[in-house]
């Protein structure tokens, strides 16, 4: 790594002692010698193992559940279903007033994605829990499912989630989060060229080394200690308190070093049901995802579709940009309504464009619920924006890097969401990249600055 101190030297003092020093990490020796403790290193006498019975269907009505054979299986201590969960219908962002509650801890009457949790089995060994789970009989009536976002948004499509009533999240602004700035149609009308393109991604797994899980120990005083690898301690504790209708003072969450999160450990999935199991059995409980569950059950990065329409002038100025973004939330909200509207605040990218129109939709389909991941709401948008920039440059016969200099935002420029740009550094990054890659760029661009003249 090279630190290029020549840029922005006038706004930076190098008078610090500890900051800016490449001190060795205090936890590295523990990591590389295998001594760092992770949640799963906890093992308590009498600990039970929790395994989930999961839906084999994408969308189905549950006619009946028969757990009698599973309960008789040797080693099984308790079998849990929807009626055992005090507040079974929940949504995690309710803590910051983003509802409605739209998901069940254990399925009640319906399943909306293949893999949805239906019944939890607690047994003396992992094997007994697995074998007993296979003996739970669920009678399903299969329902039509919808997997494609465009199909889901058509009138008459099967309704994925009745708690929403339609297959998109309803914002206070309507069916999508909107940004309106300038006159986008006027901008298109005056443009030399129009380019409209569509971009698509599919779900992506966080692939942490350590799978999602927790170990719960009853403390004997009505308190429960939950050793967990969540990325958000109080967020998980407070949601668990709501789901279990248990005062937060009865819950003690202990984290530590996590074996990779990448946004995959901010849903509240394993802790509430494991604590409920510990409460109802009086025994320690562990619930740890298998690698298969981590890959196909835990929330992935959402698939997204991004449609970008641009009006561009022959001299390189983008005069109008319209972006329509679709986020595939799967069957439940989790963090997706938040991620979809994060996109609305991010478009049209780090460029100053006078006329902008943005709509971002959060769409429900019958697939594994998606949620947060590194770059939430932005990574796929940046792929779309920056490929679009390359296409626009080639369309008008301009160098792709020089084309970006012409449109790059600078201090003081008004963004589409009506915040003035502060602390811009895109131009300097591009200048340094041009130098590092020996990419020829005209001198006038290499002389530009993110500082505005006279500012």
């Amino acid at each position: 790594m090279k630190l290029r101190k020549s840029y922005f030297a006038d706004v930076r003092k190098d008078d610090l002692h500890e900051i800016g020093q490449a001190r060795p990490r205090s936890d590295s020796p523990g990591h590389v010698t295998g001594k760092t403790a992770f949640f799963a290193d906890r093992n308590f006498p009498g600990m039970l193992h929790l395994k989930m019975v999961r839906s084999p269907h994408h969308h189905a009505r549950i006619r009946s559940i028969d757990t009698s054979e599973a309960e008789k299986h040797p080693g099984v201590v308790r079998v849990l279903s929807a009626k055992d969960v005090p507040h079974n219908v929940y949504t995690i962002l309710i803590l910051i007033q983003i509802g409605p509650e739209d998901e069940t801890v254990l399925a009640d009457g319906k399943v909306r994605w293949k893999g949805e949790a239906v019944v939890a089995v607690l047994a003396e060994t992992e094997r007994a829990a697995q074998e007993a789970a296979a003996k739970v009989k669920v009678d399903y009536e299969v329902l039509p499912a919808v997997f494609d976002m465009e199909e889901a948004l058509k009138p008459g499509a099967p309704i994925v989630n009745e708690y929403h009533g339609q297959n998109y999240y309803l914002y206070d602004s309507g069916e999508c989060r909107k940004v309106r700035f300038g006159d986008v149609e006027g901008g298109f009308a005056g443009a030399d060229h129009i380019l409209e393109q569509s971009y698509q991604s599919s779900p992506i797994e966080h692939a942490p080394t350590e799978t999602t899980g927790c170990v719960v120990a009853p403390e004997g005083n009505d308190r429960f200690t939950c050793y967990t690898n969540t990325q958000a301690m109080f967020f998980t504790l407070d949601n668990t308190s709501i789901i279990l209708q248990m005062p937060g003072s009865k819950l003690h969450f202990v984290g530590g070093t996590v074996g990779g999160g990448f946004g995959g450990k901010v849903d509240v999935i394993v802790e509430p049901i494991a604590i409920l199991g510990a409460k109802l059995t009086g025994r320690p409980v562990c619930f740890i995802y298998s690698r298969e569950e981590e890959m196909q059950i835990s929330s992935p990065r959402a698939a997204e579709k991004v449609v970008i329409k641009d009006g561009v002038m022959k001299d390189g100025r983008i005069v109008a940009r319209k972006v329509t973004g679709y986020t595939d939330a799967g069957a439940y909200s989790r963090h997706s309504p938040y991620g979809a509207q994060k996109g609305a605040g991010h478009y049209p990218g780090p460029y100053t464009i006078p006329n902008v129109w943005i709509d971002t939709y959060c769409v429900y389909t019958n697939r594994t619920p998606s949620s947060a991941m590194r770059g939430f709401g932005i990574t796929i948008g940046d792929f779309a924006l920056e490929v679009q920039m390359d296409k626009l440059a080639r369309l008008i016969g301009m160098d792709p890097l020089e084309f970006r200099f012409i449109n790059a935002y600078r201090d003081g420029d008004m963004k589409a969401h009506r915040q003035p740009t502060e602390g811009a550094a895109l131009i300097e990054c591009m200048q340094e990249a041009a130098r590092a890659a020996s990419w020829p760029v005209a001198e006038k661009y290499m002389a530009m600055s993110s500082y505005k003249k006279g500012a």
């Binding site: 922005f8 797994e205 692939a207 969450f253 984290g255 999160g261 509207q341 895109l426 990419w439 993110s450």
Partner: protein
Amino acid sequence: MAIRRGRGVAAINYPTGMNLGGDPTQALVHSTPTGNFMVTLSSVDLGQGMKQIMAQICAETIGVPTDCVVVDTADTDTGPHCMGTFASRGTHRAGNAVIQAAKEARQVMLEVAAEELEVNASDLETDGQGNILVKGAPQKSISIFDVALSAHFKRGRSISGRGMFLIPRSYPEKETGAMKPSTCYAHACTVAEVEVDDETGEVTVLTVKNVFEIGRALNPKMVEQQLVGGSWMGISHALYETTEPYYPNRDHGGTDFNQYLMPGPGDLAETEIIVLERPSADGPYGAKGPGEMCANPQIPAVANAVFDAVGVRVDTLPITPERILRALKAQAN
């Protein structure tokens, strides 16, 4: 049929912290009887080294070596509230909370030292080595070890501080979308160089040159590990990863690392990292959040390089050999 070479560029920005704000983090700092300092948080270290960075921030603010600081975190019985470690917010939010707590603790420490030295607290400074000196008269000094002993056993003072950082929540205006998503943005520009085999559709990423502007590199070695890892993840997203390869079809999803494609060591490009620092106005010592954005620019840069190499666009991620071959076939027809 041939191996074709191309290169592509992409430039991006990225907001620091939870979108629209409203995501608090608190911190507590106190001294032990012998002048070590404990930072108490409930934030989670995901392996990126958050504990180490919080120790350096506390040490810098109090004016002691980092070795004197211990970070206790991720325990809801001891640590005050943190919204969580996500949205590139850990260093920015928790770092600011630690600075505020450490400043309050430092002030008490200087007051106790002032009583011991019989001077005004405002006339004192730290040497960063564990001592407090009178400005302009460094021969008149006291060790932080002795100050902490005095506070605990003689003067009955608690050398401690409370810190809180909260960016007030912004609510988007319904019709116009006027809002404040973030208070500071990191930046990046990446140039990727690829080879594409137009017979097999296979892409080899030869080099990735990344320039990142991150406000301030608080610990250059640690930010380097995060930026390099992010750059690899970007390549992985561009070319390999998905749980649903034929989305929206639900079939063929990988269930383990044999089926879920990720690059191995031999698939990773020669990676260059260059860091620029434009300190952010509200960042701890100017830092912005680089954790997420460092994995973004490689994806479009690789996509653009593939086009530069073989003249076809694959606008669906991941850019697999199958998709490249289908695009080449469509172009030939």
